[in-house]
């Protein structure tokens, strides 16, 4: 048997074995699926989602809001900051978010805090999809209002009045918010937060989580 053939067969077996090891032991298949295939890469498409600041009651498939949101709504609006490790837009927004709420947290941290904005308590939850729990991760499609599937994504949940009942009412902003400067981005977030606080204060008396 030729030496080169032995080398080729050995190489194929080695590569195949390592590949199977990567799939089953190192979970490379699952990681690739969750982190690359299923999340829309905004860099790849050279586009930014258009930020439409409309509030809505409608979640994906009209699914109920998660417990961690409904419970925290008792204290005030909830701000959800969705990101991932490898994300150019998340890096742009990370210092803005920290400055806006005057908080310190690592990009990979599972972090939540009650922050004060305009003298109102807001629950801030940072959800890095690469380092989080299933419950938090599952809320990502739920609040993906415009079905973008890309990151970063910011959801602000407040309270709204809907046909006689007070229910969670939210808006979702995407990417770097379609504005060129950090000051503009901060201003947009501040406006949306003010709006959500106003709605919250109008409706909080009627809110009773299930």
């Amino acid at each position: 048997m030729k030496k080169s053939f032995v080398f080729q067969i050995t190489a194929v077996l080695l590569v195949s074995g390592l590949f199977l090891g990567m799939v089953f032991a190192a979970h490379a298949y699952d990681e690739t699926q969750a982190r690359i295939v299923e999340v829309l890469c905004l860099s790849c498409i050279k586009l930014e989602p258009k930020t439409i600041r409309e509030f809505t009651f409608k979640t994906e498939n009209n699914a109920p809001h998660p417990y961690f949101v409904t419970e925290n709504l008792i204290k005030g609006p909830v701000f959800l900051d969705y990101s991932e490790d490898v994300c150019a837009g998340c890096e742009v927004m990370y210092p803005i978010i920290k400055q806006l709420f005057n908080i310190e947290f690592g990009k990979q941290d599972m972090f939540s805090a009650t922050v004060t904005f305009n003298h109102v308590n807001i629950t801030f939850i940072s959800i890095n999809l690469d380092h989080t729990t299933d419950v938090l991760e599952n809320s990502f499609p739920l609040y993906d209002k415009d079905e973008i599937g890309g990151l970063p994504m910011f959801t602000i949940v407040t309270l709204g009045y809907d046909h006689g009942t007070v229910r969670p009412y939210y808006t979702t902003l995407y990417g770097t918010l379609n504005v060129p400067t950090d000051a503009d981005r901060t201003a947009i977030l501040q406006e949306v937060l003010k709006e959500s606080i106003e709605m919250y204060q109008q409706n909080k008396a009627g809110y009773h989580p299930d």
Partner: protein, 269 residues
């Protein structure tokens, strides 16, 4: 059935396989060719994106480095760069533009450029692309290849804009990427397999495997008429009679079917 027609059918079938995301199949594999996972119908991940992720801003995610290399390595060792000729959807696209490119090739200016000695060195551009624009920029600055990739523009940006009118706006890199995309279109219409020859970073990964692959092309130079028909027909512009496991060969088999003396064949090991 004619051999090249069989190859065309194979390419078409694999094009649909690469787009099974359209029917909801999104896997965790990496393609062994250049195709963007941002395509709404994509089945798998782009290997280049995974490689960029692996070193992004000095983070070191070894799984994203090894995993796509193993997939490419498997196909590389078994079939060499045949993936480019038989499976890659961008290869199929360039097959479609080759008729125009062949007409351009007959133009005196193109012929003069074709004889340019430095042409063979231009082929190293894809290796520079791979090291510089995939690894180094990702390591030091952030995504650059991803931000300007014309394949992402073709199969990701445009379909998304068509399927989601009014939902997206161009980002900072869009104008640069658009210019590069236009140059890409000009390239594939003016040089046969121009993208594969000079720029494809996956081609750069697969190319060296031709030296050790199980499947390769074998030329029996004894009895060669030196008619050069094989070199003329070669979409990669290889000097076929003198090639020996050339990294540029995509094993399309055009030379096999064209050789009047049937001196070129697929060989194993």
């Amino acid at each position: 059935m004619k051999f090249q027609l069989k190859r065309l059918y194979f390419q078409i079938i694999l094009f649909f396989t690469a787009n099974l995301g359209a029917v909801g199949l999104k896997t965790g594999f990496c393609y062994p060719f250049l195709y963007c996972q941002a395509c709404p119908a994509a089945t798998s991940a782009c290997p280049i994106r995974a490689l960029e992720d692996s070193v992004y801003k000095q983070s070191f995610e070894w799984r994203f480095l090894v995993y796509p290399l193993l997939i490419i390595g498997f196909f590389g060792i078994t079939t060499g760069r045949a993936i480019c000729g038989w499976a890659c959807p961008i290869g199929l696209l360039q097959r479609g533009t080759s008729r125009v490119a062949r007409k351009v090739k007959k133009h005196p200016i193109a012929q003069k450029l074709g004889k340019y000695r430095g042409e063979k060195y231009l082929r190293y551009t894809k290796y520079i692309m791979l090291i510089g624009f995939v690894f180094l920029t990702s390591l030091l600055i952030g995504f650059i290849f991803t931000d300007i990739c014309p394949v992402g523009m073709l199969v990701g940006t445009f379909p998304i804009l068509i399927l989601n009118p009014g939902k997206f706006v161009p980002n900072y890199f869009f104008p640069v990427a658009l210019v590069i995309f236009i140059l890409f279109i000009v390239l594939i219409f003016s040089i046969e397999r121009g993208w594969c020859r000079y720029f494809c970073p996956v081609g750069a990964l697969l190319g060296p495997f031709n030296k050790v692959s199980m499947l390769h092309m074998e030329v029996n130079t004894e009895g060669c008429l030196h008619c050069n028909v094989c070199s003329y027909i070669c979409p990669m512009g290889i000097d076929v009679p003198n090639m020996h496991r050339d990294p540029e060969c995509i094993l399309c088999g055009k030379c096999v079917t064209t050789c009047p003396e049937k001196l070129i064949r697929y060989a194993r090991a």
